[in-house]
């Protein structure tokens, strides 16, 4: 009887604790590993999650110099402002147009470039082309903007060609109808080579035996590309496409900011530059945050949507 009681007490005490004790043992053994995480986690909490929480000022009236989370609740006031703001719809349209053009033009470019490079047999030449193509990726956005402005300036190199054919010189950077072309070309220039790296890595991973088998079956190089190479890099394409979709609305903020001017706002002004002007230059912090939050949430929905779609359609997904 007594022994039974002791046994009961023992099981009562030890059984619920085994899981916790195991965890405690792991933590005790690896506390040094956890201690390494402390500083970086604090960094993430303050500088990544802090601003997410800071979005609360989209629903509260913020006064510069006042409380960091604003003064009082104002509900959806700033979102109502957004729906009545004609400039917002203009920048939304510009963002969508520019984002779509980027997706159509600059997304396939690295794939095509990688496929072309893949056909080069001379290793020296291949390496040379690759090395050159990466270079613009390493330039500061300020330098890229400077180069672009010099090239399209009235006395710049592009106008030399234009003058040769038309006899006229144009101030392209002040013409709204040219902004998108200029922006897309400079993105193409800056990102194609670097973007091709991942595809080239994927290309080297394709099994050579597949090509051998296709040759025996009589497939020419084009058929091999169509039926082996492209399916081989498809997972990479899908992953990068999903990531690109997520950044859809954040089209080259820094570059637009450096390249545009009041004369080209009509086509160049995008959500992020508008947020910057409203929020920081005009100090309408709460309204600017509301627009920014709108942008981020749409971006998040796009990523999850694209991921879901691609998992359904191609079986490839980010998670």
């Amino acid at each position: 009887m007594e022994q039974q009681l002791v046994k009961d007490v023992k099981t009562k005490v030890t059984r619920p604790n085994t899981k916790w004790q195991r965890a405690k043992k792991v933590i005790k053994k690896d506390w040094q590993l956890y201690s390494l995480l402390v500083l970086p986690v604090i960094y993430f909490v303050i500088f990544k999650y802090g601003p997410m929480f800071g979005n609360i000022i989209a629903f509260r009236r913020f006064v510069p110099g006042g409380s960091i989370i604003g003064e009082e609740w104002v509900g959806l006031t700033y979102f109502n402002m957004l729906l009545q703001d004609p400039t917002f719809f203009l920048v939304l349209k510009n963002t969508l147009v520019l984002g779509l053009l980027l997706l159509i033009v600059t997304f396939p470019a690295p794939i095509i470039f990688a496929l072309l490079l893949n056909e080069v047999k001379n290793r020296g030449f291949k390496r040379f082309v690759q090395t050159v193509s990466y270079l613009p990726h390493f330039f500061s956005m300020v330098v890229v903007a400077g180069i672009v402005l010099e090239l399209v300036s009235v006395n710049g190199a592009i106008n030399n060609v234009v003058e040769f054919f038309t006899g006229n010189r144009y101030p392209f950077i002040q013409m709204p109808e040219w902004f998108r072309t200029i922006f897309l070309s400079s993105e193409l220039w800056q990102t194609t080579g670097w973007g091709a790296i991942l595809y080239l890595a994927a290309l080297t991973g394709i099994n050579d035996e597949l090509y051998e088998a296709a040759k025996i079956d009589g497939a020419n190089r084009w058929k091999q590309t169509l039926h082996i190479t492209i399916p081989g890099i498809l997972p990479t394409i899908v992953v990068l496409f999903i990531l690109n979709i997520g950044n859809f609305l954040q089209v080259g903020f820094e570059k637009v900011l450096l390249l545009y001017n009041p004369l080209t706002y009509e086509t160049a002004d995008v959500i992020s530059t508008y947020v910057y002007r409203i929020g920081i230059q005009s100090a309408s912090f709460s309204y600017g945050t509301a627009i920014g939050l709108f942008e981020s949430i749409i971006g998040l929905i796009l990523v999850f949507g694209a991921n879901f779609m691609s998992r359904k359609i191609t079986d490839n997904s980010l998670w």
Binding site: A23, V26, D30, Q32, L33, L36, L37, L39, P40, V41, K48, Y49, G50, P51, F53, G54, I57, E119, F125, Q130, T131, V132, S133, Y134, L135, P136, F138, S140, V142, V143, G146, I147, V148, E150, L151, S153, G156, A157, N159, W189, T192, I197, L198, A201, A202, R221, P235, V239, G246, L257, S272, Y276, I280, F285, G288, T289, G292, E295, S296, G299
Partner: protein, 290 residues
């Protein structure tokens, strides 16, 4: 294997296309270099393409004698060194534990990190935060808020995961603790990834301009990228007075921009041939596991 006629034709075209890509990629940059060595009259006439016309290095002398340029250039060097050091230490501290599969809550922390790739606070909450922390007009506004890049962190984690556990187990037998293992065993084995991360972060910091643009109001603190941005935007007084006369200044405006651009990218172009293979292998390392 015999090649078809069409494929041979394609190969020839391919080389031509790729050479055109090389030309288009290099031209804008070489054009700026040529301009920087040309005299203003040929630049405004639009006659400079790849070869300098009216060779002159006067503008280089003028920029080099501008004390503000040197102050800003030195700032960039300091920000790059401090920023890269902070980024490397913090990224290593996080990537190493996350690479350990036995770590409890590892998946939670990974989600915690990766989520920030898809959703961020946005520019204004960031601005309010950094200013309310009192970072305005201090180096911290530049080096702290962007200290860890999630992309780089994931590349590092992948690399650490591939270091065989047996090495670490042997070190535990010898009485090393986690810190000892990290410093004496793991880091020496990780030189390729550390070099890659060093280069990634250093280039990012060197090229950074927006945080300084947002948070700095004192000219003496500007990095050289802001000096250049002000030149490009034609902001007044970018070139400190006394360096040259106003008359001279308008005459050489285009030249000054190209010279400053060349000087800004010079360090990158100089180390580029040596570093680009690290960059490439770094990206490939990260792509191994997607």
């Amino acid at each position: 294997m015999k090649e078809s006629f069409q494929y041979k034709v394609f190969r020839v075209f391919n080389v031509v296309i790729l050479l055109a890509v090389v030309y288009v990629t290099l031209f804008p940059f070489l054009n700026i270099v040529a301009q920087s060595f040309s005299s203003e009259q040929y630049i405004t006439a639009g006659e400079v393409s790849l070869i300098p016309k009216g060779f002159n290095i006067e503008t280089y002398k003028i920029i080099m004698s501008d004390s503000m340029f040197w102050i800003n250039y030195k700032n960039t060097v300091v920000y790059t060194i401090v920023g890269t050091a902070i980024s490397l230490v913090l990224s290593t501290m996080m990537a190493y534990p996350l690479a350990k599969k036995r770590l409890k809550g590892r998946n939670f922390w990974l989600m915690f990190v990766v989520f920030t790739m898809f959703f961020n606070g946005g520019i204004i909450p960031n601005y309010v935060l950094v200013n309310s922390l009192g970072f305005g007009n201090t180096i911290w506004a530049i080096v702290i808020p962007t200290a860890i890049s999630v992309f780089n962190l994931l590349i590092m984690k992948t690399f650490f995961e591939n270091i065989p556990d047996e090495l670490e187990e042997a070190a535990i037998m010898d009485g090393s603790n986690t810190y000892g293992i990290l410093v004496k065993i793991v880091l020496p084995l990780s030189k390729p990834i550390l070099a890659t991360m060093f280069l990634f972060y250093a280039v990012t910091h060197w090229n950074s301009w927006f945080p300084a643009f947002l948070y700095f109001s004192e000219k003496e603190l500007f990095p050289v990228s802001i000096y250049l941005r002000n030149l490009i935007k034609g902001a007044e007084g970018s070139l400190s007075s006394g360096a040259t006369s106003a008359d001279n200044l308008t005459q050489i405006a285009a030249n000054i921009k190209s010279v400053t651009m060349v000087l800004t990218v010079l360090p990158i172009v100089c180390v580029y041939p040596y570093i680009q293979k690290y960059f490439v292998s770094g990206v490939m390392l990260g792509s191994v596991k997607g």
